[in-house]
Amino acid sequence: MDNSLLARFRRATHGQPVPALIALALIVVVIAAQAPVFMTAGNIANVIDQAAIPAIIVVGLSFVILMGSIDLSVEGVMAVGSMSAALLVANDRNSLDFGLWALPVVMIIGGVLGLVSGLAVTRLRIPSFLATIAIASVASGIALILFGTSAKPQIVDPVFIDLTQGTFLGFTKVSWLALVIVLLGLVIQRYTRFGRYAYVIGGSEEIAKLSGIDVRRYRLLAFVIAGMCSSLAGALTASRTSIGSTTPGDGLLFLTIASVVIGGTILTGGRGGVLHSVIGVLIMGVIVTGMVLIGVSGFYQQIIQGVVLLVAVTAVAWKLRRPMRVVM
C-alpha cells in the first residue's frame, strides 16, 4: 500500500469534509482580509446564530440525500411548524400554553408530513423530487388553514422566545440546540443501523435489497426525520421572530440544498454526511454575512452566490473528475 504522507493523509481523512473545510477557510480568509471585523467574537457568534436553523434542517436533509432521494418540502413543512408552534405556545390567538412541550408536538406534526412524503415515495413509487414538492404544497395549505383569517399569531411565551434570543456562554441558545442536534445527527450517522444503511442504500439500493435490507423502511424513516427537523426549524423561526408565519422559510430551500451540495454530499447518494452539510451551511452563511460586511451591492449578491456555488462545487468535486465518469 502507498505509504507516502499524502496517501496516508488521504486514507485518514477519507469520508471527511476536507475540501469543504478548505473552501470554508479560504472564504473566511478572503472576507477577513476585506473586512477585519469579520473575525470578532461577536460576529462569529452571529454567523453561528444565523447558521443554527439551517443547520438543523440539513441534519435531516442529509440522510434523505445520502439515500439518493431529495426533500423539497422544507419550506412548506417549516410553515406548518411555525404556525403550529405559534398556536401551541402562549399567544394572542388562543388560550393554549404548552410552553416548550410545543416543540415535540410540532416535531411529531412535521414527522407525519415527512411520513406522507416517504409513503408517496416508497409505496406509490413517486420520485421524491415530485412527491416532496406536492407535500410542500399540501403543507403550505395546512399552514394557511391554521392561519385562518386574522393577524399573524404573536407569541407571548417568554421561555419560548428566549430559546432563540437568549444566550448561554456567549452564543444564542438556539446555537447550542443546533449543536446538540448536529451531534445527535453525527451519532445517528455513525452508530445506528439507520445511519449506516443510509450510506448502503445510497451506495447501491440494489445491493441493499439483495442483502435483505428493508430499503423502504429506512427511506421512509429518513423522510420522517427530515420532516421533524424542518418543522422544528419552523418552530424555532417562529420563536426567533415571535410570530407564526406561513412563509417562515422563504429562500431556505435554495440555501440548504446549496449548502448540502457545497459540503460535498453528492445528490446521487452514498457520500457525504451531516458534518459535510453543516460545513456547507457555514460556507453559505459566511458568504452572506461577508457580502454585507464588505458592502457588496444587493444587485450582485445573487450572481456572486451562484458563481461561488459553481466554483466551490467544482473545487470540491475536482478530484472525482476522470474520463467516462457519469454525472447526472
Binding site: 452508530y191 443501523r193 447501491s204 439483495l210 474520463p323
Partner: protein, 516 residues
C-alpha cells in the same frame, strides 16, 4: 458458530437441508423453471450447471427468498416453507452471493462483509464497531486476506476486493443457528486463478458444517469442487451427475443436448491472416501502461494476457478512445486514428466490447434492436431518420445469425440472459459496414460453454473476413487456442510475444512466467 448453538442437534443427517418439488416459475411467456425437483443435503457441495438462460439464477433466487415460485413446494430441513423475503431466508440460514455481486464502494470492509447480517455487531439498532470489526476480521482471516476491516472498500485494489467478496460469502451463511445453506452464483467468473484456489479451500473448510450450491460455467471447476452436479437445460433439471464418474465432454453434452463435435475453441474455423498490417500501434503510452508497440495483420487474432493491473485493459480503452493516451500513435491501414474520443475510433472502423457488460455494454432499458443499431444508425436510417422496418429486419437477421434467445427485436435487454446480452453487444459491432478492428475485453466472462464456443466461432468468422481482433482473454487456454499470436503484459509493459498455431502453441508456464 452454529455448532455451538445448543438448540440445534443436527443429527438427522438424512433429512435434506433443502428439498424442492415440482417448482415452476415463468416470466410472462418465458418459462424460466419447469417442475424442478432437487435436494441439497447437509455438508455437501452441489453443482448447478446449464447454458445461459437455463434457469440457474432463477432457481437460486427462489431458494434465497428473492423471488417466489409460481407453483411447487420447498422444504427446509424437513418442514415446508415459503420465503417471502431475503431477510427471512437469511434468518433461516439460507444465503446467496449474487452473480453480479459487487461490494458497496463507499462503506467499510467490515460493513460490506456483514451487510444485512450484522447480528451481535448491532444491538438495538446501534453499531458496536469493535465487535463488528472483530467478526469481520475473523472472516477475513479465513480467506487469508491482509485487508483491515475498517478500510473503505473503494480504496482497495481489485484483487483485495475480490477476497472481501469471498469473506462476505462466508459471513452470509453465518446468520442462523442451523447449518447454513450457501448459494454461490458464478463466484469464480470474476476471480483470478490464485483466488479461485483460495475460494475452493474455503469452500472445503466450510463444507464441514454447511451445504453449498455452486454455479459455474467452468466445468473443470465444477468437477473439481462438487460432490454432486445437477444439469439444467431450458428450465428443467435434465440430469444428476456424480463428478467422480463424469468428464467435461459429458457434462457439455448433457447441458446443450448435443456433442461437442468440432472442438470447444473452434480451431477448425481458424483462417490464416493476410500479411498486410492493419493496425499499427507505436510507442503508445496511457494510464497504467507505457511504450506499447504492436502490429496486427488483417484477419489476425491477437490475444493479450496479463494479471490484474497489467495495463492491458487500459490499453484496450485507450485504443478505443475511451481513455486519453499520453503519447504514441495508432494507425489503421496507414491512416492515423484520432484517439480523442470513442467516436474517432468508431469512425475508423474500430469496435470495442467492454468487460462490464451490464455497466458499459448493454443499455438495459432499451430494446434489443436499439442496442444493436446504436453504434451504426446509418445502417438503418435515411437522413438521420430511423426506418422502423429496416431496424426490425436488421435486428431479426442478427438475432438469427447469432442464435440469440429472445422474444424478438423489441424485447428489452434486461430480460435477456447474460450470454444473450453479450451476443447483442457483439452484434452491435458486427453490423458495422466496415469493421476493421475489434477489441474484446474478456468477452466470454460469465458465458456458458456453449455460448463461449459460439463466440469463438463468431470471432474466427470475423477474422476470416479480414477483421483484426484484439482479445483480452479470460483464461490462458482461451488466449492460447483462439488466437494466432499471444502477447503478455506485466506492469504496463509488453513482456512477451508468442506465435500460436496448431501444433505450435505456447506453454502455460512460459506465458505465466512472462505475466508476473
Amino acid at each position: 458458530m452454529s455448532a455451538a448453538e445448543p438448540t440445534v442437534a443436527q443429527t438427522s443427517t438424512e433429512a435434506p437441508a433443502l428439498r424442492l418439488t415440482d417448482v415452476s416459475k415463468s416470466f410472462g411467456v418465458v418459462n424460466a423453471l419447469t417442475k424442478v425437483s432437487l435436494e441439497i443435503r447437509p455438508r455437501e457441495v452441489v453443482g448447478l450447471i446449464g447454458e445461459n438462460g437455463a434457469g440457474k439464477s432463477s432457481l437460486l433466487k427462489i431458494l434465497s427468498g428473492n423471488q417466489t415460485a409460481d407453483s411447487g413446494t420447498m422444504e427446509l430441513r424437513g418442514r415446508p416453507v415459503t420465503f417471502s423475503s431475503i431477510s427471512q431466508a437469511m434468518s433461516n440460514g439460507v444465503a446467496m452471493v449474487y452473480q453480479e455481486q459487487s461490494l458497496l464502494p463507499n462503506v467499510s470492509v467490515a460493513e460490506n462483509i456483514l451487510l444485512g447480517n450484522e447480528r451481535g455487531a448491532v444491538r438495538d439498532g446501534f453499531y458496536r464497531w469493535k465487535q463488528m470489526h472483530r467478526t469481520a476480521q475473523r472472516h477475513l482471516d479465513e480467506v487469508k486476506s491482509g485487508v483491515s476491516p475498517s478500510d473503505i472498500t473503494d480504496t482497495l485494489p481489485f484483487a483485495q476486493r475480490q477476497m472481501v467478496e469471498v469473506a462476505k460469502a462466508l459471513a452470509t451463511g453465518d446468520g442462523s443457528p442451523y447449518d447454513p445453506v450457501i448459494l454461490l452464483d458464478e463466484p469464480t467468473s470474476v476471480l483470478e486463478s490464485g483466488d479461485i484456489e483460495t475460494l475452493f479451500s474455503v469452500i472445503r473448510r466450510v463444507k464441514e458444517h454447511a451445504s453449498i450450491v455452486f454455479v459455474s460455467h467452468r466445468l473443470e471447476e465444477v468437477l473439481e469442487i462438487c460432490d454432486r452436479v445437477y444439469v439444467m437445460r431450458d428450465g428443467e433439471v435434465v440430469a444428476e451427475v456424480d463428478p467422480a464418474e463424469a468428464d467435461v465432454d459429458q457434462l457439455f453434452r448433457l447441458m446443450v443436448g448435443r456433442d461437442l463435435t468440432s472442438g470447444y475453441f473452434r480451431e477448425d474455423l481458424s483462417t490464416e491472416p493476410t500479411p498486410d498490417v492493419r493496425l499499427a500501434i507505436e510507442s503508445l503510452t496511457g494510464p497504467g501502461f507505457s511504450d506499447v508497440s504492436l502490429g496486427i495483420n488483417r484477419g489476425e487474432i491477437v490475444s493479450i494476457l496479463g494479471v490484474q493491473d497489467s495495463g492491458r485493459e487500459n490499453l484496450g480503452r485507450v485504443l478505443f478512445g475511451a481513455l486519453p493516451a499520453a503519447h504514441g500513435s495508432v494507425r489503421i491501414d496507414g491512416e492515423r486514428v484520432g484517439l480523442r474520443s470513442t467516436r474517432d475510433a468508431v469512425a475508423r472502423g474500430i469496435g470495442y466490447l467492454p468487460s462490464e457488460r451490464k455497466i458499459d455494454g448493454a443499455i438495459m432499458g432499451m430494446s434489443v434492436a436499439d442496442n444493436m443499431t446504436l453504434a451504426h444508425p446509418d445502417v438503418v436510417s435515411t437522413l438521420g431518420v430511423m426506418r422502423s422496418r429496416r431496424v426490425r429486419e436488421v435486428a431479426d437477421e442478427w438475432i438469427r445469425r447469432l442464435a440469440i434467445k429472445t422474444s424478438g427485436p423489441a424485447a428489452e435487454m434486461v430480460n435477456l440472459s447474460g450470454g444473450n446480452q453479450q451476443k447483442v453487444v457483439l452484434a452491435k459491432w458486427m453490423l458495422a459496414p466496415d469493421l476493421r478492428v475489434l477489441i474484446l475485453d474478456t468477452p466470454t466472462r460469465g458465458l456458458d460453454v456453449g455460448a463461449k464456443s459460439e463466440v469463438y466461432a463468431i470471432l474466427h468468422g470475423l477474422a476470416a473476413k479480414g477483421v483484426s481482433i484484439i482479445l483480452l482473454a479470460d483464461s490462458l487456454e482461451e488466449g492460447i487456442y483462439v488466437s494466432h499470436r499471444v502477447i503478455t503484459m506485466a506492469d504496463g509493459k509488453v513482456t512477451g510475444e508468442f506465435t500460436s498455431r496448431p501444433g505450435n502453441r505456447p506453454s502455460r508456464t512460459s506465458l505465466i512466467e512472462r505475466m508476473l
